[in-house]
């Protein structure tokens, strides 16, 4: 073999060296492999001097391959590839052995740890010999961006990108943008009015020259790849000609049909059959709900058409399919509220004065069904109120995760309820979690105000009294874990801080865009810490609650972050893709078509004339499934070739490196 290999074994301070005999591993590698020209151990390979060590050896000794035995490649593979590149060696002539995460940190016995490290290094050396020189793949980027979801995260992202000069297509399922934030009254911890801060942004969206706003629309299909997505959007028939409609809303006013509004008013109030969801809606153009419209159901009425001054009502309107080409996509599809009926002992749906957080938001909202008055079902004012935290959150029967906003939201409820009604408020909590700026101060403020806190997850809520004091009340029964006793608190109103849940269709939506959702249903980010708005699919980003429960500041931050990532891609003009791709040797492909159906990214196509299959390099994501499936061995995968893996297996299983007894 003509290769000259440099092997570098990292101490990682004492992280590795405290368990693995790093000097021995380095000595052994040099002794065993004639191709190993130099083998060193060093305190911190990832440090500048560590990297220089590699660079100098490449230059001075003419190394053709480099192996570093250190931490996980997920941490420093890029670092060392960079070192190789700086010294003029193709970065893919490098291989890493993870002897920290996979050996030093998980193995008790030092001798065995050293043997295992040698085995991993052995595999890496034999693999790297078979490495090939590779170049990243370059793809052009279309400057337009698709944003799905017009809640605050999507709005923020759209404005950032549009302001930077690129075009945005913002798609919203509902008749208006605004999302959940448009339903809220006040926002924590500053208690500023939700509508006051959101409405201007919504207005900007509606009037921005760089934004195409498509409400009452849904994405139907997504093809292509980063830089070059082809999108089909179904624009549902509004039965209102938008160009003619002036938003005077006479139609809404005159429409005789009232329908319970399950979306914006969460079932607490009615709307008309032709409606805009709320006064500040953007666009301020109504939608005709054909399922409830008297004309569509019985053929009689047509009041809206008669009263419309501009003749904008069109009962014949059909869904439209619009096509766009975009370079990047941001998904900001938000969350659903947990259905509190699923916890029978809380009586939601059965006891009229047990309400959810969103219902309370409407109740306290000046534009809500009671004009902002907090009233019981029978119109009385509540004198005592219970706020129940963690309803459907932190509970493995429903959702294991913490919904993250409920503590602050519940504190806000306590404040608003007290302020508006003077009622005594009890907050039932497991733990109070207020980790952001000014949040703990808000908690203190609520404590100061005299809200009572009981530490204990509510056991049950009933209307069955055991004492005279409980008559006519709702009784919240909980174990006060601090006092060590079970308590029954009679109250008039119970607010359930229900969990945030992934959208019921998040998995299907994820599939549509080629991204995955975790076990809970939240869309998975590329890296939970270092890459929270990117996804595993290049060019598809996520923001806001689609990625996990979060509050408004965090949603806005993510919207802006995702926008920054997109703008940066647009500015680069091109995208570099990891050259881990499959390719088909046409001469050896006999067109058996085994592979044709295996690629979820539709990267494999069949040429009917040549009768061979081929891989579209830009679509291929490099999973290697087709490589493993090709019966003729005609498909090969770069950087994970049969030869590389098989030689790694031989090294890793070398009988000389059996565990000692």
């Amino acid at each position: 073999m003509g290769e000259k290999i440099g092997v570098y074994v990292c101490h990682c301070g004492s992280n590795i060296a405290g368990v693995v005999d790093v000097e021995e591993v380095a000595r052994w590698a040099k002794e065993k492999f004639p191709e190993v020209t130099v083998s060193r151990d060093y305190k911190f390979m990832c440090s500048s001097p560590g990297q220089e060590l590699i660079e100098n050896d490449i230059k001075d000794l003419g190394l053709t391959r480099v192996v570093v035995a250190a931490c996980s490649p997920h941490l420093h593979e890029k670092t060392f590839r960079g070192a190789c590149q700086r010294a003029g060696l193709n970065p893919y002539f490098f291989e890493m052995a993870s002897i920290r995460e996979q050996v030093a940190w998980v193995t008790k016995d030092k001798l065995q740890a050293t043997i295992k490290s040698k085995a991993l290094v052995d595999g890496a050396i034999r693999r790297v010999i078979n490495h090939e020189s590779l170049e990243p793949i370059k793809v052009d980027i279309t400057a337009d961006t698709l944003i799905v979801g017009g809640g605050v995260a999507g709005i923020q992202a759209a404005l950032e990108i549009a302001d930077s000069g690129s075009h945005v297509i913002l798609v919203e399922r509902e008749p208006s943008i605004g999302g959940h934030m448009a339903q809220f009254d006040k926002t924590f911890p500053t208690l500023d009015c939700s509508a006051c801060i959101l409405t201007p942004k919504m207005f900007d969206i509606g009037n921005h020259p760089n934004i195409t706003l498509l409400t009452w629309s849904e994405v139907e299909s997504v093809d292509g790849y980063v830089g070059n997505f082809e999108i089909k959007i179904r624009k549902k028939a509004r039965m209102v000609i938008e160009d003619l409609c002036t938003g005077c809303l006479v139609c809404q006013e005159k429409c005789p049909k009232r329908v319970i509004d399950d979306v914006y008013e969460v079932g607490m109030a009615k709307r008309k059959a032709i409606y805009v969801p709320f006064p500040q809606a953007v666009p301020n153009k109504p939608v005709l709900d054909t399922e409830n419209c008297t004309f569509f159901q019985t053929g009689k009425c047509q009041v809206c058409q008669k009263v419309c001054p501009t003749g904008a009502i069109d009962y014949e309107q059909k869904d439209q399919l619009l096509e766009f080409k975009v370079g990047n996509i941001i998904l900001a599809t938000g969350y659903d509220l947990f259905d509190a009926r699923r916890i029978p002992q809380y009586g939601y749906g059965k006891l009229p004065n047990v309400i959810t957080s969103l219902e309370f938001e409407r109740l306290t909202n000046a534009s809500g069904p009671t004009n902002g008055e907090i009233l019981l079902a029978d119109g009385r004012k509540p004198e005592t109120i219970a706020v129940v935290h963690c309803v459907g959150s932190r509970d493995k029967n429903y959702n294991e995760y913490c919904s993250s906003i409920c503590c602050m939201q519940s504190l806000k409820f306590a404040h608003l309820a007290r302020e508006k009604t003077g009622a005594q408020v009890y907050n039932f909590y497991i733990d109070i979690r207020t980790p952001q700026k000014d949040y703990e101060e808000f908690y203190n403020r609520i404590l100061d105000e005299g809200t009572l806190f009981i530490r204990g997850k509510v056991g049950e809520i009933t209307n069955i009294p055991r004492t005279a004091e409980e008559e006519g009340k709702l009784i919240v029964q909980a174990f006060d874990t601090l006092a060590g006793i079970q308590r029954r608190i009679p109250v008039d109103l119970v607010i359930l801080s229900a969990a945030l849940e992934p959208r019921s269709d998040s998995v299907e939506v994820g599939k549509l865009f080629g991204i995955a959702c975790g076990a809970q249903g939240w869309m998975i980010e590329r890296h939970p810490k270092l890459d929270p708005v990117a996804t595993m699919t290049e060019g598809v980003f996520i923001a806001g609650c689609a990625q996990g429960p979060k509050d408004i500041p965090a949603s806005v931050s993510q919207g802006a972050a995702a926008a920054a990532r997109v703008i940066s891609k647009i500015q680069q003009g091109q995208v570099l893709l990891e050259p881990i791709r499959a390719s088909i040797d046409e001469n050896r492909c006999s067109g058996c078509r085994i592979c044709n159906n295996l690629c979820p990214f539709t990267a494999i196509t069949f040429d009917e004339i040549k009768e061979v299959s081929s891989v579209n390099v830009a679509l291929c994501q490099g999973c290697g499934t087709c490589v493993a499936a090709c019966p003729a061995g005609a498909i090969s995968g770069t950087h994970y070739s049969d030869k590389q893996i098989l030689s790694q297996i031989e090294g890793i299983l070398d009988p000389a490196l059996q565990l000692s007894k």
Binding site: R588, G591, N596, C630, P631
Partner: protein, 331 residues
Amino acid sequence: MSTNGKPKFSMYWAASCGGCEISVLNIHEKILEVDANFEVVFWPVAMDSKYKDLEAMEDNSILLTLFNGGIRNDENEEIARLLRKKTQIMVAFGSCATEGGIPGLGNLGTMKSIFDTAYFGVSTENPEQIYPKTSFESQFGQLHLPKMYPVLRTLDQVVPVDYFMPGCPPEPHQIGAVIDLVIQVLNGKAELPPKGSVIGAGTSTVCDECKRTRTEKKIKKFMRIQDVERIDPEICLFDQGIPCNGPATSSGCDARCPAVGAQCIGCYGPAGGVIDYGARLMSAFASVIDSNDPDEIESILESIPDPAGQFYRFNLAKSLLRSSKYAWKGE
């Protein structure tokens, strides 16, 4: 060089059915060219020859040996080594020598099970319960039979082989082409391919030569050919649910089996570069099963009752594992 100046040729029949020997005769008048260009010095099935005559020959004095059959016993091995010593160009001829072939399937079981099947199976009439012995006292003295090995090996697992010529048996036109080539080389008109090459086969797979129309593959059930009501003459057998090994099998046979409505069983061996033929087939077959439900997958797989036989019919002895544990453990 031989006395008459012609290069010497030999052919040997080890663990195999003998079809390869017949296929050489099947090249028709081309056999005359063999005779014209070679002196046949050793070919037990065609002429009388003794091992001691072979031993007496000078090393490397035979130009070309076509060795067919796998190495099943110590006689096979002894002759393989002897021929290797005497031969310049050693060709593993046919599936058995190349990859074990049907006798290689014996590697799935123990030697005892092989003998029991052969001597006491339902198709054997053996009222005296005769069982072979390695040595036997006869009226002419002590007689010896070759000793069986527990595992059949391919020729190249025993001696170095220069070229491999797959097929069960190799197609006559392929044999003819190889003979033409050797003659041209002898006349200085061509060069031999690199040592270790597969000769007499194509570079692609059977599908390449198969005329049937193929579509994307999605399999809900595999069916044995006799269970298919009507085989569509135009459409790919695999697409019809018939487990055809064509996609993995080296071309060179003109897709003779699929052409007449029988699935390819893989006698031409793996396509170039494939390490384990059966593993590739398993991977391919499993990949196109049209289900993500574990139980349904399980039940679809039940329609492949004998996966080792399906995927390793000719190739077991050349596979990564080579034999079952029962064979090498003897239990």
